[in-house]
């Protein structure tokens, strides 16, 4: 597999390996679209990688883990505990335990923003709203995974129909013009609407804005079912889309808390590494 890996330079600088008494744990998040790994040394992020998921999740997990270890400058033998998470969590063969991504996103979000009580996670194939307590423990959640509407897949499909790189959708959102109204809840029919709008000569930024607002409506509706308790944070790959972020804030009528420089797509893997640290600290590590 030719995996394109994205190493975060800012954390490269933070890498701090103190061999000896260091506690090394890792989280590996095998999602539907992207796979992520985070290595913690003494509770600080020392290595983190994002790469594409593949049809061979076991190999992807191994490769992404090894890359994160390389990034952190440690070997697998140094790692006290590994937690696998994401839809492919059971495929992380070398993990000591697998934990649901719902718990991991909550834990990671709390670590980065201790005042967070509601986590909105938009991944490739599902959207979740997670309620956590002041310790980052999972209290409740709602998920949409029966339909692509409101997921990263929805955005990808729409971007494809507009021959637009998905990464550029966010900037089009802010380039002015009234949003088009996209009414279809179904991704397939929404795509038909987009094609009709293109054929009517409507400018792309207006269509993009309409799409992102329609996604925000679906996500906000899901989050409201759970009940919005501030602070609200957003995780997952779609959180990097500033247009979606802004649209959700407008629909929920709140300002969400930012994670600063931390990539929101890594929060699940970070949470898994933190859960791994709990298990390592609790003396439940075998071997």
């Amino acid at each position: 597999m030719s995996m394109k890996l994205f190493i975060h330079a800012s954390l490269e600088q933070e890498r701090r390996v103190e061999r000896g008494a260091m506690a090394v744990t890792a989280g590996v998040d095998i999602g539907s679209t992207a796979s992520k790994a985070v290595v913690l040394i003494d509770g600080k992020t020392a290595g983190q990688i994002i790469g594409p998921s593949s049809t061979n999740p076991k190999r992807t997990a191994r490769e992404i883990y090894n890359s994160a270890l390389d990034h952190a400058g440690v070997s697998a033998a140094d790692v006290a505990y590994v937690v696998g998470t994401g839809y492919g969590r059971t495929q992380v063969e070398f993990a000591d335990k697998n934990v649901s991504e719902i718990t991991c996103h909550g834990r990671g979000a709390h670590f980065l923003c201790p005042t967070a009580r509601t986590v909105i996670d938009i991944g490739g194939q599902d959207t979740k709203a997670v309620c956590i307590d002041s310790e980052g423990n999972l209290l409740d959640f709602v998920m949409n995974d029966k339909c692509a509407a409101g997921t990263g897949r929805f955005l990808e499909a729409m971007a494809r129909s507009m021959e637009l790189p998905v990464e550029e959708m966010g900037q089009h959102y802010f380039t002015g013009g009234d949003p088009c109204t996209i009414t279809s809840m179904c991704s397939v029919f929404a795509e038909s609407e987009v094609i009709n709008l293109i054929n009517d000569g409507v400018e792309l930024p207006r269509i993009v804005k309409g799409l992102l607002l329609s996604l925000a409506v679906r996500v906000s509706s899901l989050a409201r079912r759970l009940g919005i308790i501030e602070d609200v944070v957003m995780t997952g790959g779609v959180a990097k889309n500033k247009g979606v972020y802004d649209a959700i804030e407008k629909k929920l009528k709140i300002k969400m808390k930012s994670f600063g420089d931390t990539d929101p797509q890594l929060v699940g893997a970070l949470g898994a590494a933190l859960v791994a640290a709990d298990f390592a600290g609790a003396g439940t590590v075998s071997g």
Binding site: S100, I102, L138, F141, M143
Partner: protein, 375 residues
């Protein structure tokens, strides 16, 4: 925890009408299909009648049924019609329905058009449990008894009914005892396996299964059980006749120790008190004990019933499974979730289709639910 079935009953669930049904027919039995817990089983067990709870195992899509039914009819109803149209139930001698929900009423309508089997009967069903309602339901049962006598020439008199009730009580007592073993710290039977035997018993002529179920019961007494689970769960919901659904729940560490499903242990296995008029006793029992959300003014008793079972079986959390488009459970489940949470009982609501799908999504939700309980 994931366990392979060791009950020896799994082969009875592969077909809607299994080999024991064929055997009963060969022995002269007349097979009566039914689809709802309000159908009084003893009344369709008299004098050589054999009641079989209808299932559509392995159904993959409902293209034929979708021609005749709206897409907002629940997938259990559509699956049964699909199998009926496909001829899977051609060996049935009759169907008995209750007007329990509009979806099953539409199934009755469609089967009436098919005229296969010719005996297709609908019992009207009151929405309240009261003295007049019981009397009304009693009258309905009298009409059914008359129709059965007329069509099949069977004896539906008090002695025949008393005998049928006694046999069902005797059979269900064994299943209840097996179910009560799940109260133990180390239950000798998983939720999956328990559901398998309950479903197998509902899908088979009971008189042909009694020895087997007795032996299985004895074998469980010698089983040390398992403590390989993270959380004791109760399953609440409507029609569920696929043990693999519970297997998915148990694959992430839950152990289903109690259930309140249409084809489960509560209240379907309850002892029937038989008075001087056995038909009246059936009316009282089935109207009062079935505990379906279709009944009005019964929410409080349903919730108390569920909480009572949850306490008795020391469950850590409750999973409410509702079939998509089920009017009764769809509405009730929202209220149930709130009421259970008000009592500090962790609860997870899962929507599903009749046939098992989206196992990964179920696992993620159940695992997160167990994690949210700190288990």
């Amino acid at each position: 925890m994931s366990r392979v079935s060791e009950t020896g009953f799994s082969g009875l669930l592969d077909l809607p009408l299994n080999r024991l049904v064929d055997k009963a027919r060969d022995e002269g039995g007349r097979i009566i299909g039914y689809t709802c817990s309000y159908v009084p089983e003893p009344l369709i067990s008299v004098d050589g009648l054999v009641p079989i709870r209808m299932r559509a195992p392995g159904v993959s899509g409902t293209p034929l049924a979708d021609t005749y039914m709206s897409s907002v009819i629940c997938s259990y109803t559509r699956s049964i019609l699909e199998f009926a149209l496909d001829g899977f139930y051609n060996e049935l001698d009759g169907w008995v329905f209750t007007a329990s929900c509009d979806h099953l009423r539409r199934l009755y309508d469609n089967l009436s058009y098919l005229e296969n089997p010719p005996f297709n009967y609908m019992i009207d069903l009151p929405h309240k449990i009261s003295e007049p309602a019981i009397s009304w339901f009693h009258e309905e049962l009298k009409l059914l008894a008359g129709a059965l006598s007329a069509d099949f020439g069977v004896d539906t008199g008090p002695d025949a009914l008393r005998n049928a009730i006694a046999k069902l009580n005797s059979f269900n007592a064994i299943l209840r005892e097996i179910g009560e073993m799940r109260k133990e710290d180390t239950p000798p039977i998983s939720g999956r396996d328990f559901h398998e035997i309950v479903a197998a018993c509902a899908s088979s002529p009971k008189y042909l299964l009694k020895d087997k179920i007795c032996k299985y019961h004895e074998s469980l007494k010698r089983n040390d059980g398992t403590d390989d689970y993270r959380a004791r769960l109760m399953l609440v919901g409507s029609q569920l006749d696929d043990p693999e659904y519970i297997s998915v729940i148990e694959s992430v560490g839950g152990l289903v120790v109690a259930d309140r499903c249409c084809l489960g242990s509560f209240p379907g296995l309850a002892h029937i008190e038989c008075g001087t008029d056995p038909l009246r006793s059936l009316a009282e029992h089935y109207l009062a004990k079935t505990s379906c959300p279709r009944m009005m003014e019964e929410f409080d008793s349903r919730i108390e019933n569920i909480i009572g079972i949850a306490r008795e079986y020391r469950v850590d959390g409750i999973i409410i499974e509702t079939m998509k488009f089920c009017d009764c459970w769809g509405v009730d489940s929202g209220l149930l979730v709130s009421a259970l949470r008000d009592r500090n009982i962790p609860v997870l609501r899962l929507e599903r289709e009749y046939s098992l799908s989206g196992e990964g999504q179920i696992r993620t939700r159940v695992q997160a639910f167990i994690e949210s309980m700190g288990k």
